[in-house]
């Protein structure tokens, strides 16, 4: 870097100052490019008068002020309803198969002459938790994920984002956050990464910090299962429609929490004005069904299930051991749960549920298996009819009420992001402080909401 660049520096600004006259230079460059593109397109594109522009018509309905929201709720509700009413039968079938197999497996283990403790560890600990996780989680996922992928492939999600844009603007956040929120339905870690599409750092942080409030793949099975249990017989006999409504309402609560916390953040820690952006409506596309099924089963269902199973097996074993090592009169697991019990009751839940949420920090998929393990360690399963059996375990043996169900759903919806997501947030923000914030903000929200709801409902 000798004299040469210095000369250039002198000449450079001169050239630009000399030319920058009435019209901005960059405007003129862009204008020339646009004219050129128009010219070429005019020569090579021919358009026959199309009849009805169905895309336009459909957009007018799906994103209208009047019909936009109701249709959005209806679509989501329909998906939940199909999932819930469709999952029961295969779930029951799977449970029967698994417990039928358990008998033979048990006989085989006895024939091998295993000691009692190993028999219990393997069969009642490891195998049973595996069977439960697969039977309870697989069918709803195998129905829900393909349906959601269809919605994604049709091009509906950007329309949903368009509908919600105004709400986010009022919350002081970027409308694109609606898109990152939709991504969060798949996986919060993916949702956090997708926040990169938001240009303003302030709005990006808001989107990152609140992404946790939409239930991800790992939490849907819990929401659906608990919704089925508390609505199918405990409160009403109406069954699957009530359950679907319950899941829908919890999603709405999640969206409300997102908006409220975004509003709170944009008024306190992250003040500023929302920026403008353009959102392109992609054309509607006919989804490739075969591809959707393969992709949603492989990428989502099996991914979530394998994560649950990989941890459920050792966790099942561990919890069985904890439950069978006695400390005084009660088991070790019972002791730990008992410590948490009063606090759990304050939040409308119990010690076992809190334990499941705490131990489930690495991945949300683990909460169901941990919950089941926790209860089975202190109870037993006699009835073998899938969800009915689970209901028996939770309601009849461990005194779940509708309050327990509601608070468990709320806590699952609002509590801290999973380990993977936290790690992603740390990578994206590069700040320990914001990662801690991403952990504490939802936790405080969850504690406040669950505490308030439980205390209110206890009054009746």
């Amino acid at each position: 870097m000798g004299a040469k660049p210095a000369e250039a520096i002198e000449a450079g600004p001169e050239i630009i100052r000399g030319t920058a006259g009435s019209q901005d230079l960059s405007d003129r460059i862009v204008q020339t490019l646009y004219q050129e593109a128009e010219l070429i397109a005019g020569k090579v594109v021919s358009k026959k008068a199309a009849g009805v522009d169905w895309d336009r018509r459909l957009d007018d309905i799906l994103t209208s002020r009047l019909w936009g929201y109701p249709l959005m709720l209806l679509l989501l509700g329909l998906i939940f309803w199909i999932t819930i009413s469709g999952a029961n039968y295969p779930s029951e079938l799977l449970t029967r198969a698994f417990f039928g197999l358990e008998r033979y497996l048990g006989q085989a283990l006895l024939w091998l002459g295993l000691p009692d403790w190993l028999y219990g560890f393997l069969l009642l600990g490891v195998y049973r938790s595996l069977a439960w996780v697969v039977a309870v989680m697989l069918p709803p996922m195998a129905i829900f994920f393909p349906l959601f992928t269809i919605l994604e492939d049709l091009g509906y999600l950007p329309r949903a984002a368009y509908n919600m844009d105004n709400l986010f603007y009022r919350a002081g956040a970027c409308g694109k956050q609606a898109l990152t929120m939709c991504m969060g339905f798949g996986c919060n870690a993916a949702g956090v990464i997708s926040c990169r599409i938001i240009e303003s750092p302030r709005e990006r942080l808001i989107a990152v910090l609140t992404n946790n409030f939409v239930p991800c793949n790992g939490r849907f099975p819990l929401l659906i299962t608990v919704a089925v249990i508390i609505s199918g017989g405990m409160v009403l006999k109406a069954g699957s429609i009530t359950a679907a409504a319950a899941v829908l309402v919890s999603v709405l609560i999640g969206v409300t929490a997102t908006l409220m916390v975004s509003y709170f953040l944009s008024r306190t820690f992250l003040q500023g004005m929302p920026s403008f952006y353009t959102l392109e409506m992609p054309p509607y596309r006919k989804p490739a069904l075969g591809q959707i099924i393969v992709r949603s089963i492989m990428d989502r269902t099996l991914f979530v299930l394998s994560r649950a199973v990989i941890v459920a097996a050792p966790a099942g074993g561990l919890i069985w051991i904890l439950a069978n090592i006695s400390y005084g009169d009660t088991s070790l697991y019972g002791c730990l749960a008992a410590i948490l019990d009063p606090f759990g009751h304050f939040l409308g839940m119990d010690g076992i549920i809190l334990m499941a949420f705490i131990l489930g920090l690495p991945a949300n998929e683990l909460v169901i298996p941990l919950l089941i393990m926790g209860y089975m360690a202190t109870g037993s399963l006699e009835d073998i009819h899938s969800l009915a059996a689970l209901k028996n375990l939770l309601v009849d043996q461990h005194g779940w009420t509708y309050i327990t169900g509601i608070c468990t759903m709320l806590f699952s919806l609002l509590h801290y992001p999973c380990g993977t997501t936290l790690l992603t947030i740390y990578r994206e923000t590069g700040s320990f402080k914001w990662t801690l914030m991403a952990f504490m903000l939802p936790l405080i929200t969850a504690l406040m909401v669950c505490g308030a709801v439980a205390q209110f409902l206890y009054l009746f």
Binding site: A11, G18, S26
Partner: protein, 256 residues
């Protein structure tokens, strides 16, 4: 994959013989770019109907007629001129990493808007192949595109494709191969801006010509960016060998 490693990769490919040639994949969001990337590389990457789906720059490789090609999937952008991080990284990659061939995927249903990006890329590199995708959808909407005519207008190869059904992929591979081997005869359309802009461009070009040394960059593009007042790209130039001079030059430009 971070940008830095991608640059290493591209630089290496132009220097060392034997390492696979780098091919860049650019295009507007939602044009089926990721579908084409998946079809070529076989890498599993979820492609949904989303605007701005590919946030990360990903790369994969494929073999065609026993030759390996390194394919880099750039973020979907509408332009290379504005200042979102995605547009910056795409523009930076094309300008400094100098891939051996660049494929711009264009949406047949709204070709005009897509041509803006094509023309901008054409300002950076002439080793360009345009892939007009979603022709089935265009047909459904009664939009017809004269592929040969477009080829004549742009002066670079244009491939017709329906990527969702795998149509046009083998032609694209062939076009990439020919481009990388230097067997494609391109007569790129040159864009003439208004006289005042042109005069300024030429003057700046004169100033920075030859400053790249052994690592030449497209001076006209850099000059365009300077006229636009984009100092960011020029600062980035400092990260590459022999480009410090240009960078220093650019740092002192007035803000528009």
């Amino acid at each position: 994959m971070s940008n830095a490693s991608l640059f290493d990769l591209a630089e290496g490919s132009s220097r060392r013989t034997g390492s696979p040639p780098v091919v860049a994949l650019a295009g507007n969001p939602n044009t089926g770019k990721s579908t084409i990337f998946n079809l070529l590389t076989g890498l599993r990457q979820h492609t949904g109907n989303w605007p701005g789906k590919t946030v990360l720059v990903s790369s994969g490789s494929y073999y065609y007629q026993k030759q390996e090609y390194q394919l880099v999937d750039l973020p979907g952008t509408y332009s290379l001129l504005a200042n979102s991080p995605d547009e910056e990284s795409a523009s930076e990659f094309l300008c400094f990493a100098r891939p051996r061939a660049t494929v711009v995927v264009a949406d047949a249903t709204c070709l005009e808007r897509n041509l803006n990006l094509v023309l901008q890329v054409l300002e950076i590199t002439t080793s360009l192949i345009v892939c007009v995708n979603l022709l089935d959808e265009a047909k459904r909407k009664k939009i017809f595109i004269d592929i040969k005519g477009l080829e004549a207008e742009l002066g670079v190869p244009v491939i017709a494709a329906v990527a969702s059904r795998g149509k046009g992929i083998s032609q694209l591979k062939e076009a990439i191969k020919k481009m990388v081997e230097g067997k494609t005869c391109v007569q790129p359309r040159s864009i003439t801006y208004d006289p005042e802009v042109e005069k300024a461009l030429q003057q700046i070009e004169k100033q920075i010509a030859g400053k790249g040394g052994a690592f030449p960059v497209n001076c006209r593009w850099l000059a365009l960016r300077m006229l636009e007042g984009d100092a960011g790209l020029l600062k980035k130039a400092a990260e590459y060998k022999n480009l410090e001079e240009i960078s220093v030059w650019g740092q002192n430009l007035p803000k528009p």
